[in-house]
Symmetry: C2
Subunit: 295 residues, 2 copies
């Protein structure tokens, strides 16, 4: 696999339908000083090749309320100084092969996939010219792909698209399909700490321990370079589940619906500035941070 | 520390206020074939020295609705053939030094601590004659102490009594105090899978990795003999967190309220019939179980 020239930023989401749909969101965005992902969105702009002048497309395909979710991101990016921002809503496969949309993607420096349902992303985009161009730009250009919630979950080769938290360690309860394939050997879950999804990730990892489980907390993300180094950004936690040292499990023996036993999963809990190297499986832990740190 | 002659059975709880308060609970208990803890309650009777003739006291101290919660247990034990069952509600410290209650405890073969608030258990019972007698019977008699939810959480030396799930890995967010001290070197959390509490347990473990974190799923428990062997019972999962191999953490460096990083926690996921040996830290994993197995 080639080394991508682009940067991948995956974020754990905040609220169900995407992002700035906070209950107390003030229409005057300057009053929402602590609003969701402000730090991370800033980082996305900083990573973009032309900084605030970058052409940013907010891809709302995952959401069933694309205008609502998308316009909140446009407003937020604008507020942070990026003015060259638009919404791009593909919700049919034919649009994902349409020259108009392909040209917009070709001209983008950065794309931001909103939250919603990751199955919409793979169903509408998987195997289209849009998908091909996305991969091509990621591997060969100084291009930023950011995704939150569904937009993050879809980034890897395998994608969790459903599975209740409480039943997550019953065999077969976690539903996995093929993702957009931007990054290999990881599987990503979002809203992680908040929704108690560790069981989902455990099951995804135990069934193939080559795959590192990544659980992203809300308002928390990873900035991934060369599909190797992963730096934590945001205010919460990233939980990594490494199954390579599993000693024993009964998953191959029990029938569907039965509880799974697993001996010896290795778990890391990372927060802002910590860096994990996917190729060497090493952690550089940042010393003494404060939640007020700029990130 | 001496080896207890008694048996400790800790259960992860089911619903907020204790146990049989299911929404669809049928007053005709025979119709509730799958009802909560039927398997585990049966096991409690089987572990009790006089089986169905055992004198069982349901201790409702943790609950603010003791009669409601307690009578459901009495009804369930009766249904399972144990007829010598009563409710014992201490909700003042003076009662816990009262001869009437002490005599009832002295005459019991088995006690069952219901759910509720574990802080009520330690506040009302801690350091009383009732507490002393409980420990004495546990260490020197063929006595069964069972506890569900709050009743399980209070069993260990240190007890988690509060801490939100979503914020559980911010330093100081998890509130810990002294438990009833029936078992050492473990810390117990309940409703574990269902309420996404892994972060609470991580924080409890990282601040003293000698302590094994035990996360009990709902309708799931551990039958503990000699404070060493722990056998999983019930329909769900037990998650163990072993911090002895932690390589690095920032918990001593960051201020209260900051996210905590932890490298290399070892996690085990156990289900019915699996056995963990606390003294040797070894697992005997049961092969091929079915959810229909008798337990």
């Amino acid at each position: 696999m080639n080394i991508p020239k682009g940067t991948l930023i995956i974020i754990g989401g905040a609220v169900d339908k995407g992002s700035f749909t906070e209950q107390n969101f003030d229409p005057d965005v300057e009053k929402n000083l602590n609003f969701f992902e402000k730090g991370i969105l800033n980082r996305i702009i900083r990573e973009s090749c032309k900084k605030q002048d970058s052409r940013i497309e907010v891809i709302t395909t995952a959401s069933k309320i694309p205008k609502k979710v998308g316009s909140e991101y446009v407003r937020a990016f604008n507020y942070l100084g990026a003015k060259n921002v638009d919404m791009l809503n593909i919700d049919k496969r034919e649009q994902a092969n349409d020259d108009e949309y392909l040209e917009r993607l070709a001209n983008a420096d950065t794309v931001m996939f909103t939250g919603g349902d990751q199955l919409r992303l793979t169903t509408f985009l998987g195997g289209t010219k849009f998908h091909d161009l996305l991969l091509q730009k990621y591997y060969h250009e100084n291009f930023v792909i950011a995704g939150t919630s569904a937009g993050a979950a879809a980034a890897s080769d395998s994608m969790i698209y459903q599975g209740s938290s409480s039943e997550a360690l019953l065999k077969g309860e976690v539903k996995i399909t093929s993702g957009l394939g931007l990054i290999q050997d990881v599987i990503i879950d979002t809203h992680f700490v908040q929704r108690g999804r560790i069981g989902r990730l455990f099951q995804a990892v135990v069934s193939n321990p080559k795959v590192l489980g990544i659980g992203l907390g809300e308002d928390t993300g990873l900035v991934i370079k060369e599909n190797k180094s992963m730096e934590v950004v945001g205010s919460g936690l990233v939980i990594l589940v490494d199954g390579r040292f599993i000693k024993h499990t009964n998953i191959t023996q029990v029938p569907l619906g039965s509880p799974i036993s697993i001996e010896n999963l290795v778990v890391h809990v990372l927060s802002i500035h910590d860096v994990y190297h996917l190729d060497t499986h090493t952690i550089i832990m940042h010393e003494h941070v404060s939640v007020d740190d700029e990130y």
